[in-house]
């Protein structure tokens, strides 16, 4: 149950970091969606280690194979299985850690729950599991393109407490990918890079905030009461490794404001329709999209693997010292950007299909096309 995400459009992921493979089976895929391996590959290439000097040097081509559900370039309506073999699996660096619990890792809690664990590189708890998420996200974006086009862009907004200045209304993936930090503010990108290099030089790590915007959503998406759009998006982001906080629109800052300042006044939109003068709501009101850009921010803690000796306990509960070796990122943020985008795509695609299924029967309200 635990590795499945979504209600109607579902992603079932699998795979341990140093096992034979990682991957995903996506079910609830409408037929007729143009899809090919190249699209997944492009998404995985933004996620994979070794893509720049700022991230883990593990060498994984992360070559994806589509095993089912696609025929003659379009989806069949059957489950789409996608597989990535683990190639550079090198568990030797983990052997000395086998009997120790690395601080702020999942070693201790996994053992507490399951009574055992694949100690090689974190096993299922490794961020390598996000390969399946990103592959599924690529398919979700393909479905959205066909049913309800939306532009999803994530970026590194804060790093180690230092904030970038980014216009959420215009930022593009091209601008984000222009620098290996995935910060589209060029000045901030340089500062962020310096911060990451400094942390790595110290055997240390840094955290930060990824922001993400979804532009082009129609009004009315989401499912009150429990599956509010921000609730499902929030869960999606909080399920990512190292994510410890999420806010929608004004978020924690908005909690300091008075209602008279926070409310987003409605106004007639220039070209017809309705707009809001401000967007403190982050594009979501009452759990439903209102047609304005959907804005979220996700806080990522600093990577737990540091190259300094740390106090811990061993499997018997006795005091010990751990000093990890291995291949790790000094900062997870640049690689977290495509993960965040993938999770947003999964949620929006699921909600779009649910909204199609439950569309009002009389042509009023939100009508998402069966037929484009």
């Amino acid at each position: 149950m635990s590795s499945r995400f979504g209600q109607l459009f579902t992603a079932q992921t699998f795979g341990e970091s140093h096992g034979p493979a990682v991957g995903v089976v996506v079910d609830g895929v409408p037929a007729g969606v143009p899809f090919e391996a190249a699209r997944v590959q492009a998404a995985l290439d933004r996620r994979r280690p070794g893509q720049s000097a700022l991230v883990s040097p593990r060498r994984e081509a992360d070559r994806v194979e589509i095993l089912s559900g696609v025929f003659e370039g379009v989806t069949l309506g059957s489950p789409v299985a996608m597989l990535v073999r683990n190639e550079d699996a090198d568990p030797s660096a983990y052997l000395p850690l086998k009997g120790l619990f690395r601080p702020s890792h999942a070693d201790f809690t996994t053992e507490a729950r399951f009574g055992r664990r694949d100690w090689r590189g974190g096993g299922r708890s490794s961020a390598r599991e996000t390969v399946g998420r990103v592959a599924a996200g690529a398919l979700a974006e393909a479905v959205l393109d066909a049913v309800c086009p939306v532009e999803i862009v994530g970026w590194v907004d804060v790093l180690a407490g230092d904030a970038a200045a980014v216009d959420a209304g215009r930022v593009s993936r091209v601008a984000v990918d222009a620098h290996p930090t995935r910060c589209p503010d060029p000045a901030a990108a340089l500062r962020f890079e310096a911060e990451i290099r400094a942390a790595r030089a110290a055997g240390d790590t840094v955290g930060g905030v990824v922001a993400v915007v979804a532009r082009g959503l129609p009004a009315g998406l989401g499912e009150p009461v429990f599956d509010k759009l921000e609730a499902d998006l929030g869960k999606a982001l909080l399920s990512l490794p190292a994510c410890k906080g999420v806010e929608s629109g004004s978020g924690f800052a908005g909690a300091r404001m008075r209602g008279s300042a926070h409310n987003d006044a409605f106004a007639p939109a220039p070209g017809g329709g309705v707009t809001t003068r401000t967007n403190h709501s982050g594009g979501i009101q009452g759990g439903l999209s209102n047609g304005m850009p959907v804005l979220l921010r996700a806080a990522f803690k600093p990577v737990a693997t540091i190259f300094q000796p740390q106090d811990t306990v061993d499997a018997a509960g006795a005091a010990a010292v751990v000093a990890p070796k291995g291949r790790h990122d000094p900062c997870v943020l640049p690689r977290a950007v495509p993960m965040v985008e993938a999770m947003v795509a999964l949620v929006l695609c699921d909600h779009v299909l649910r909204a199609r299924g439950l569309a009002p029967v009389d042509g009023r309200g939100l009508q998402l096309p069966g037929r484009r």
Copy 2:
């Protein structure tokens, strides 16, 4: 689909604010749990309007009736349905608002999605739907008492930017309920009360942050990958009306720290077992509880209903001015506390039952008793 919460222990809520009734059907309830209406009533009394001078004056006794699933004082294992009639339903105050979209309310988005809405008091989008959540939460707590006792305490931690000082390790519901603000820091409570009164006097509203702690959880609770404990807790809180942000443990502040400062060193616990020297992780590592107190914070925006004229549009999209009347809270925080606790209880109960179902087969790892 939209009003159901949980996987194994599920709550299906229903009801509009000014319709005949609100309520919930809870399914997946183990047999043999002592339960009676008085327990639900006590929980509802903490949520209901009219309980103090700081909250909405709507007069609802919120008398609950248990319709099924309980026999001779214990649960039968069948669904537990709980019903609360709406008594002080007075839609007349809403008549002038019928054709207008109140800013930052769900009026516009509900119409956009469903093509219609029950305009009387927000209908299904009213915070009145949380009656069902709180009733279900009372049952969840009863189940937890029997299977995995845990103490859940929420409080108003920040109001309008002003922070209380509260010891999460010791705070109790008694201390929280000692003041109508539900802030257990007496000095802060007085400041908060003054802030709420000032906002109300200005026809305005304030937001803030509710903190919540769950003490006594065993290590190993949660379901990687997608149903991490903080992901499910985060979704639960973000699904509450007016909640716009959630953080777990160090949250957004932790994202500014370096890994060497943020990591929670493990140490042998004085009485045996394992503890951590700090708790930046907020009791959750890799999505699983680690035995330390689970800590979350939820940001609530200021209540959208203010008693000042605001720009908006009408149903035809033309510019208009809205000036709500009615019975509203100047600050949702005090009544949000039992809602937050209820949502935490629902998540923990569901995860406890799931962990029972999926417990390792060889006696290692987390073993939650079928038999106490």
Copy 3:
């Protein structure tokens, strides 16, 4: 988990036979569906006891109250809760049975599973729980009327081994309701009635077969692989009290045929489109509807409550004799007809909404309207 049915259109039922009430919450209801209590009441009146001399004399008006989800005569898109109070609850007849397990009832197994039971009239295991199913079925039919009109007719086809002759292509509910046996073959109806009266006179009971047809379905409904239309319909019927077998199309008889005789040859339909020359498939091929009438048959065992002394054991496992008193049906078949129709409606409605949600994106294949 146990009392919920459906994936997108879901029915959560509740209630014990002699508790305060029975009912259902239906979620996943599209907005804009005309619906009113009278429609539910008409369905419940066909199910309720006391409607004829052939069924249980328990006096229940089964008056339904719609508690939520309907406003100004149409559905809002929010959960529809429907409640029926138990009025003629008379547990006194059950007191002597409290410590005994009635043969072929759920008394023993309920105790084995839950460690206790509401012994008053079978509690949750009573056929009284089908009130919720029938109410939900009435709503399902209303949704189908709006999105994908289909005619569902069930009838008593076999009673105590004696078979009626009914034309599934033309049979109507009016014809079925013309006789209290709910057999639309007038000659057979008289024989069936005599058989039921004879069984009752002997303190005994009889079983039989209910047939059901759904006419007007488009081709392509159903969800391979596991949620084939006949699999979901089969589960729906097998979940009814006393149902012990289900067959689709030729069913068990078809298993005796050779492929050359069993295959349904396709042919151009007179008015365009495609038809089949025979319908051994019962309107379903590969788990998907093919546009021909969907035909199922459900076997119901004889009612377990007979008014003769029977060997059994008591709660301590010692041999005992039980001789039930109370108000029971000598034959469940006439009242099972609306239950069967309701279950078929629930399955078809769920599949129709799922097919809307997952409709091909390019206008090919099955396109069920968001807009009529």
Copy 4:
């Protein structure tokens, strides 16, 4: 959504008949279950084509690879992915059929639903998809061995109307596999073989009935109301290719009996506990197991692919004649036996884990061990 089965223990299958691979991801697997590829392989070998002269000559080694979830010979608690490559994929025989709808196949309905299909060997509708079911079933049996040992044996009970005589209380898989017909009655097996050979010689096919028994279940398994044991088992079997009917216990024959003859009298069991004198209930009462052998029968229609010319239509709806070539079974029954057993194992495993999760809290009722 369509290719997932189960609530807590779930199987997500994927793969087309002539695509790269078929397989399954099983989630909700408790940790600590001994499991290895050899066990799956043994199950697949009983399902695969080419195993005897009576079945399809397609040459598939069906070599399984476990991709995740198993480490050092036991399950980790994470998803178990299992993959089988399609090796002898030869679509050339299907090219002439590309534009035709084979009678009583899923060609027409698949096209009606999805607007396209993988025409190579039936694509997703091929019985080749059952590879994933059988692999998952092997894992389900391993979990049952560890938590709730039960013996599941299926056999060919009726073929082309001719019935075998088999003692459900003693029949074993060894006896079943002793003859390639998988009928454990040696005399009937010879008759069945002759019937199959005769049908094949005529270019025709035959159907029949598979019976299955599950021995050793404790009393109390199942989930009233909708997820009754026979409802979930019935759905499981009806979801198999070519299955058109299911009955539990006395089934359709029981519907002819009077209650006085059909009721299963309880009696003290010789070694303590409770037994029933007869087993018309097929081990299930009120949807819950009663401790007696669970008995089901599943009707399979004759294979639709016959080697005779048949009337049909082409993709444009015009009359045509189809005369399939290719590699097909003249009778699906022998290979259906392991599929039936696998589906029963999936259902029982899921219900066992659900019963663990929802076990009564006070030690009464059904207590399935977390710890053996």
